[in-house]
């Protein structure tokens, strides 16, 4: 017996004991042979480059071509609240986010954290290994993507992102961080604008033109400065004047994804899915003001709408019949020539920048021109960008006013004109009247970027829109004021309870859509 053990058990035990020594290649076995490794990404600084397409395509979101994400990130909230678009589809039995009965409110937050903060953090981690101007571009894109998030929700985790136990910052702290990041970026781009070959191919916005990036950074800084102009006027003036002096977008400039393969989500959702149509509000302004951009942005209503050949939009928060009825789905659609599936993803244009400067000029700040010059330059830049004709006649029109709205399917939604605003500038007008003109024209020029438009509506109260047709917020949202923010994603309250509570306390009100943000003061 003992011999047997010696003779056979021992060799077996030796064989067995050798096994653990063979685990050296486990790491290799556990790795995809075709996977992109960090080592592989060293070449051409790809470890940094891979972040840029994701960042540029995640502001107006279409990064992974999952159009449904864009749809709930902005099309079923901000695009509707801004008066631009409205769904013809009775989602969730006519009780959904467009009626202030929130259910998709977490996506604008989560998608941005995944696709903006994530890659921006990767760049931050690689900061020592890349040129400062490349890092600067990352910072600009981070601010461009994340200000939309804080403007929708209020306080957000920002300055401590990536640290253990990262908490929420107040919106003021987030804005301070934005300005400091933009200043860092602008300084870096001032110092060095030499082209970087590896970056040019990955730059969806400006194809490697760092001077353009600097202009974009200043334009963005101006946008954010004006946003805080009511709550922090001194800071706002300082940053706005700095930005204008350093050089902002002028006629012909635009920040948009136009290179490579594009899948414009608005094109898909409007043309293919049939899930978004013209909002009654923008229809009222464009029709009433005889705006030539109406037929550029939209197509006339089709068979089944009850108003074939006319331009007719849908009221925000209407109760709609099933899409199979073929009624509202045939209202005015987005013009595929303007926002088709291959159209650029527009993030910021020159017209907006002129209007921001015009507002600064009205405030008496140094805006590099008079309010009227800048206001009219904004309208001209918008017409030029869109290829619209008749800018001078339009600018001179002092009589046309936004039209009343009539719903061919349901007269319960008929409503009087929301505003008496006209296009033509008048130096005699009050500052408030001037503000309404500027913001109204900026709103028209900024279509279809509903996130920015909704923010400015909350800040300025302009343009005046039709109130929500059915307010299903349960008393949380004031019908006249409209939704003032998006509630935080419900999972944050569960996953990140302590930080979330800090966020709600910084918000200074309940976590619902009726609580005003820091910069939203009347």
């Amino acid at each position: 017996m003992k011999n047997i053990i010696k003779k056979y058990m021992l060799p077996a035990a030796v064989v067995a004991s050798l096994l653990p020594a063979c685990t050296d290649d486990f790491q290799e076995i556990n790795t995809d042979d075709y996977a992109v490794t960090e080592e592989l990404l060293e070449g051409d600084f790809q470890f940094a480059m891979v972040s840029f397409p994701q960042l540029t395509r995640s502001i107006y979101f279409n990064y992974d071509e999952s159009n449904w994400k864009w749809q709930i990130v902005q099309n079923l909230n901000a695009d509707v609240f801004s008066g631009y678009l409205a769904p013809p589809t009775p989602f969730r039995g006519n009780s959904n986010d467009t009626h202030y009965d929130f259910g998709w409110n977490g996506w604008a937050f989560n998608v941005a954290y995944e696709n903006i903060m994530g890659p921006a953090y990767s760049l931050e981690q690689a900061k020592e290994k890349i040129s400062p101007k490349l890092y600067a571009v990352g910072l600009i894109l981070k601010v461009a993507g994340m200000h939309r998030v804080t403007d929708a929700y209020g306080p957000i985790p920002y300055t401590q992102y990536g640290e253990a136990g990262a908490t929420y910052d107040s919106q003021e702290a987030v804005y301070d961080a934005f300005f400091s990041e933009l200043n860092e970026a602008i300084a870096a781009l001032e110092a060095d604008q030499d082209p970087l070959q590896a970056f040019s191919a990955n730059d969806d916005f400006f194809q490697g033109d760092f001077a353009a990036w600097k202009k974009f950074a200043n334009s963005l800084k101006l946008r954010l400065a004006m946003r805080i102009s009511n709550v922090a006027p001194a800071k706002a003036k300082q940053y706005a004047e700095q930005a204008i002096a350093s050089g902002v977008f002028v006629d012909g400039d635009v920040a948009q994804v136009s290179g490579g393969v594009i899948n414009n989500p608005l094109g898909e959702v409007s043309q293919v899915w049939g899930d978004t149509r013209m909002n009654a509000a923008i229809g009222s302004y464009l029709l009433g003001l005889n705006d030539p951009r109406l037929s550029i942005y939209f197509t006339p209503a089709a068979e089944g709408s009850g108003a074939v050949g006319e331009y007719v939009g849908i009221r925000h928060g209407a109760e709609l019949p099933d899409k199979g009825s073929g009624t509202y789905v045939n209202y005015s659609n987005v013009n595929p020539g303007f926002s088709g599936k291959d159209s650029p993803l527009r993030v910021m244009n020159a017209a907006e920048v002129y209007f921001l400067r015009a507002e600064a000029a009205v405030k008496g700040w140094n805006a590099g021109g008079s309010a009227q010059e800048l206001y009219e330059a904004g309208i001209t830049a918008s017409f030029n960008q869109l290829g619209a004709v008749g800018a001078s006649e339009y600018i001179a029109d002092a009589t046309s006013m936004p039209a009343a709205y009539a719903d061919p399917q349901n007269e319960a939604y008929d409503i009087a004109s929301p505003s008496m605003v006209t296009v033509a500038w008048s130096d005699e007008a009050s500052a408030e009247e001037k503000l309404e003109k500027i913001i109204t024209q900026k709103w028209i020029a900024n279509f279809p970027e509903g996130m920015e438009a909704w923010s400015e509506i909350r800040r300025t109260g302009y343009p005046k829109l039709f109130p929500v047709a059915h307010n299903k917020s349960g008393g949380k949202v004031d019908t006249e004021k409209g939704a003032l923010r998006l509630p935080y994603p419900p999972e944050e309250a569960e996953n990140n309870a302590a930080a979330y509570q800090a966020g709600v306390s910084a918000l200074g009100g309940d976590d619902h859509a009726g609580t005003a943000l820091w910069w939203d003061v009347d």
């Binding site: 685990t23 960090e38 039995g93 989560n110 954290y113 099933d322």
Partner: protein
């Protein structure tokens, strides 16, 4: 199962004998007790009798007759009549039978009574009597604790098999399949885990096998039984023993099986629609479910030959399965070849055996999950004003495009993405093929009677190709104007090697059976994925990787290796008490280097009570047993080190969404099992009862990270999922007379699943495990919940529980999902009966699942689309909820659909059905043909009870996150068929 073999030995043949005088006598046990019910038969005839209560009998016989005395559990005796008239016979207990040998883990043979855990065996004839293209379906109701759910993917599709409840939230809950000691590779089938997912399904690994090759299946239910297989076996093991050549037997077996499947439990549809003026109009030509489905047909033909020489034995088999599904254009075919050879050399000291299996299978248009490419959805949602005859002409020539395009007036369904259902069948076609070979070899060397060494190697290689061609003019959300093309080329190979040293020896009262071994298993996966996305193709219907306009072909290759050493020892004392110890250490490549080694032990104890104390004679076995086992489980491939992933749409690398998890530790299950077995009269009655409790901790969970975390999601090790249950398997032979035998088996099992803990920090959170779900159905796990909990929308209620009424005067639905039910049954019963009368054998299997709730999206969406009879019935009627009356049609319009109040579409899952009926006749020997048996078989003939609008046992997918839902799945079928088998 000893009963069945005995029944087999009692086969009766016809004959003619002179019967001219009466004999009588008494039959007793050796101990002297009279034996009632003993069979006495005149050898070579079907004539006979049974003993009475006192063991006495009388019978008419001829002089040259031979009497055969047989009784369950006793050695049969033959007595020549001669001129005797009185016979006093003493039957000896059949020790052979008591020493029944069971093949356990790693092929180690153990005496049944020494086992410290529960196993249950199913014999070949139970599987091949009523054949199913996936043989696991034949196990339903036959094993206590085994739950089988057919997947919705049609003939040959995967089956969800679960033993003793779900224990892993994110990992597999399927058992390991072991064929002749060698673990089968996983199938590589993609099982949908999301609501809109129609992936390929080559069938799980087991379904590829030829049922005719199987000798028996032994189900090792608990961790204790399977511990030796390591982490793969945490969900139990299905051990399959195949047929092999036998010494001295040369035989050819042929079997032919035909089954017709009739769809049943079809959704009730209306033929009415509302015209523009709002009045109801009937269209007699509207498509209904009855029109759309067809009868399915399945043919299985198998031939096998065995040749047994003295030193070498050979087994060969071929089987062909051809099935036409109840869904038109759904076809399935499979060819199986098997060759097995066994030889012995050097005075039988060296035994060599080898086997080769080749499987060639193809399937066309397996139904998927959800609506996009699923013709069932397009049919059941087809507008009521459309005519069948128009639909059947599914394409027309378009002179503008110079191609055939879809003939459909109702395009543009951007919600459910339906098309003309016949177009979907023929022009959104999916096809898949699988080629698989399994080669295995075993060598064992016997050093002495006590000591032997065995080595095994195998290679299991599966190559799948799956393609979907979506023709131009399909729904524009599904495909570009030129169409869309999807293709997966998937190859999985598993190499397995094992060496084991066995030692068996008895020293006086002590018997030792021990083994030590080592094993290595390497899996290698290769995937090539072509996905045209909605950017589409360069020109119409150019279905080729070269035709993609922008997307790219994505390759991935990954692997896994597990190295193991293991040992087991059983010490028996006087055949009364057995102590079982096993230990295994695994090293897995999927775990981080510092945590990649994990050890798990098990200990078990059995006491054979009837050998320790004197019990009444009737008790032939009384046994109690207990076992404690710890089992580790590794994690999915590649999660410890992944920082970048390839985006399949853009084809470029991007930052991973989930943070790498370098500190991951293996999942750990600990289980206790207690059991008792009692056998009376050597098998006339047998009961095996088990209690178990398994706690699985360190679950790998992928959760949403806090917003400030550097990744959107993270992995954590957390949770404690408990499964506690009882199983009772009861076998009895209530009647056993000369020409009538009735044996019956009753299987009962109950499993209670409780999630004791989930997240350590935050308590009351629900984690949804259905991918991408934002709708009225999602499986969620939360603390104190139970695995499988279905969440959806219910009516919203205020603090006082009163309905919240909206501006429209109708009750509102909730916006956040609430718990609606759980599909898992409270208990399962299976009752199998075999009746033998002369040469007739009848088998009846009744199967019931009690408790549980399931959801029907099919009904919810049909109500929304106004194609259901329920929609018609709602016209002009009212619904009362909490005493408040509402207009039924308006309420349905508000609450139907997948985002509606899905609580309205929950149904009781309790169902009891006649699972299987077969009637066979075995002919007396006729010429060259032997064992000629003809059977008529029926499957799923009817429900004794079912309240759901579909068969609740059908699951849309075998994935963890898709249970208890009907989402335009394939309907249940009622099957009848014929089976002929013979040998020569």
């Amino acid at each position: 199962m000893k009963l069945l073999s005995l029944i087999g030995a009692m086969l009766i043949t016809f004959g003619a004998w002179a019967q001219d005088r009466v004999v009588s006598g008494q039959v007793k046990e050796v101990s002297g007790a009279p034996l009632p019910g003993v069979n006495i038969r005149i050898d070579g005839t079907s004539t006979g009798t049974t003993t009475d209560f006192d063991g006495k009998f009388t019978l008419k016989v001829g002089d040259d007759a031979v009497l055969v005395f047989s009784y369950v559990g006793y050695v049969s005796q033959k007595v020549i009549v001669g001129n005797k008239t009185t016979f006093n016979v003493a039957l000896e207990a059949d020790t052979e039978q008591l020493e029944e040998v069971v093949v356990t883990a790693m092929g180690i043979e153990r005496s049944a009574e020494s086992l410290t855990y529960s196993t249950q065996e199913v014999k070949a004839e139970e599987l091949t009597n009523v054949k199913d293209p996936n043989l696991m379906n034949s196990l339903s109701g036959r094993v206590a604790g085994l739950q089988i759910s057919r997947s919705g993917s049609g003939a040959g599709g995967s089956v969800k098999v679960n033993l003793r409840g779900n224990r892993s939230v994110s990992g597999s809950n399927s058992p390991l399949y072991v064929v002749d000691g060698i673990p089968l590779a996983g199938s590589g089938a993609t099982q949908a885990n999301a609501l809109e997912d129609a992936g390929r399904d080559g069938g799980d690994g087991i379904s590829n096998l030829n049922p005719e090759d199987i000798e028996s299946i032994n189900v090792l239910k608990g961790a204790a039984a399977s511990a030796l297989y390591g982490s793969q076996a945490a969900n139990g093991v299905v051990l399959i023993t195949t047929k092999k050549g036998m010494k001295g037997v040369s035989k050819v077996n042929f079997s032919s099986n035909f089954t017709a499947d009739m769809p049943m439990l079809l959704p009730e549809m209306t033929k009415f629609y509302k015209d523009e003026s709002g009045s109801l109009v009937e269209n007699a030509n509207a498509l209904t479910a009855e029109d759309f489905y067809q009868s399915g047909l399945t043919f299985v033909n198998a031939i096998s030959a065995t040749h047994g020489g003295d030193k070498t034995q050979l087994y060969f088999s071929y089987a062909n399965t051809t099935a036409q599904g109840v869904l038109p254009t759904n076809e399935f075919s499979k060819n199986n070849f098997t060759v097995r050879q066994t030889g012995s050399l050097f005075d039988d000291r060296l035994t060599l055996s080898s086997s080769v299996n080749y499987i060639d299978q193809s399937a066309q248009n397996r139904p998927g999950v959800g609506t996009p490419y699923n013709a069932i959805a397009s049919a059941l949602l087809s507008p009521r004003r459309a005519n069948i005859s128009d639909m059947e002409t599914y394409e027309v020539f378009d002179p503008n495009r110079n191609i055939n395009v879809q003939n459909w007036a109702y395009t543009g369904d951007t919600q459910y993405l339906t098309d003309n259902p016949y177009w979907v069948l023929n022009r959104n076609m999916a096809e898949e093929t699988r080629k698989r070979f399994i080669v295995a070899g075993t060598a064992s060397w016997k050093f002495s009677e006590a000591l032997s060494l065995r080595g095994r190697v195998s290679l299991d290689n599966t190559a799948d190709v799956w393609e979907r061609k979506v023709y131009a003019s399909s729904n524009t959300v599904k495909a570009s104007t030129n169409g869309a093309y999807y293709r997966d080329d998937y190859e999985l190979s598993q190499a397995y090697g094992e060496a084991m040293l066995n030692y068996n020896k008895t020293f006086g009262d002590i018997a030792i059976s021990a083994a030590v071994g080592t094993a290595i298993r390497t899996e290698d996966y290769n995937l090539k994925k072509v996905d045209s996305g909605n950017k589409g193709l360069t020109f119409p219907n150019f279905f080729s990787p070269a035709g993609l306009t922008s997307s790219k072909v994505v390759y991935s290759q990954y692997g896994k290796q597990v190295q193991s050493v293991f040992g087991t020892a059983q010490v028996g004392f006087k055949e009364m008490v057995y102590l079982d110890l096993t230990g295994r250490n695994d090293w897995s490549s999927t775990l981080p280097a510092e945590n990649n080694s994990y050890f798990y032990p098990s200990v078990g104890l059995t006491a054979v009570v009837n050998k320790m104390v004197t019990l009444p004679d009737a008790i032939s076995l009384a046994k109690v047993r207990g076992a404690y086992t710890v089992l580790g489980n590794d994690v999915p491939i590649g999660i410890t080190n992944q920082n970048y992933t390839m985006n399949p749409v853009t084809g470029s690398p991007e930052r991973a969404i989930v943070g790498p998890f370098a500190d991951i530790v293996p999942e750990l299950s600990s289980s206790i099992e207690l059991g008792a077995e009692l056998e009376l009269y050597n098998g006339v009655f047998y009961v095996d009862a088990s209690y178990y409790k398994t706690n699985t901790k360190n679950q790998l969970l992928r959760i949403d990270a806090p917003a400030g975390f550097a990744y959107s999601q993270q992995y954590i090790n957390a949770g404690d999922v408990q499964n506690e249950g009882v199983e009772i398997a009861l076998t009895a032979v209530p009647v056993s007379t000369g020409n009538l035998t009735w044996s019956t088996t009753l299987n009962f099992s109950r499993n209670v699943n409780t999630i004791l803990a989930l997240f350590e920090d935050s308590g009351e959170k629900t984690e949804f495990i259905t991918d991408g779900s934002n709708a009225g159905y999602s499986l969620g796990v939360e603390k104190s919940g139970s695995f499988g909990d279905i969440y959806g929308f219910d009516y919203e209620r205020d603090e006082n529980g009163a309905l919240v009424i909206g501006e429209d005067g109708l009750p509102n639905g909730t916006n956040t999902p609430v718990l609606l039910g759980n599909p898992n049954p409270d208990f399962i019963l299976g009752w199998n009966n075999t009746l033998k009368v002369n040469n007739f054998t009848a088998n009846i299997l009744v199967d019931g699942k009690f408790g549980g709730e399931v959801m029907s999206f099919t009904q919810a969406i049909m109500d929304d689309r106004q194609t259901s009879q329920a929609w018609y019935d709602a016209q002009g009627s009212t619904v009362t909820i909490d005493g408040q009356e509402f207009d039924a049609e308006a309420l349905m319009a508000k609450t139907a659909g997948r985002d509606g109040v899905t609580a309205n579409y929950m149904y009781d899952a309790t169902n009891v059905r006649l699972r299987e009926v077969s009637l066979s006749y075995t002919f007396p020997e006729a010429g060259a043909f032997k064992d000629l048996t003809i059977s008529a078989v029926g499957r799923n003939l009817f429900f004794f009870y079912n309240n759901a609008p579909y068969d609740p046992d059908i699951t849309p997918s075998a994935g963890n996150g898709m249970q208890g839902l009907d989402f335009f799945g394939i309907p249940a079928t009622r099957s009848v068929g014929m089976n002929v088998k013979f040998s020569f």
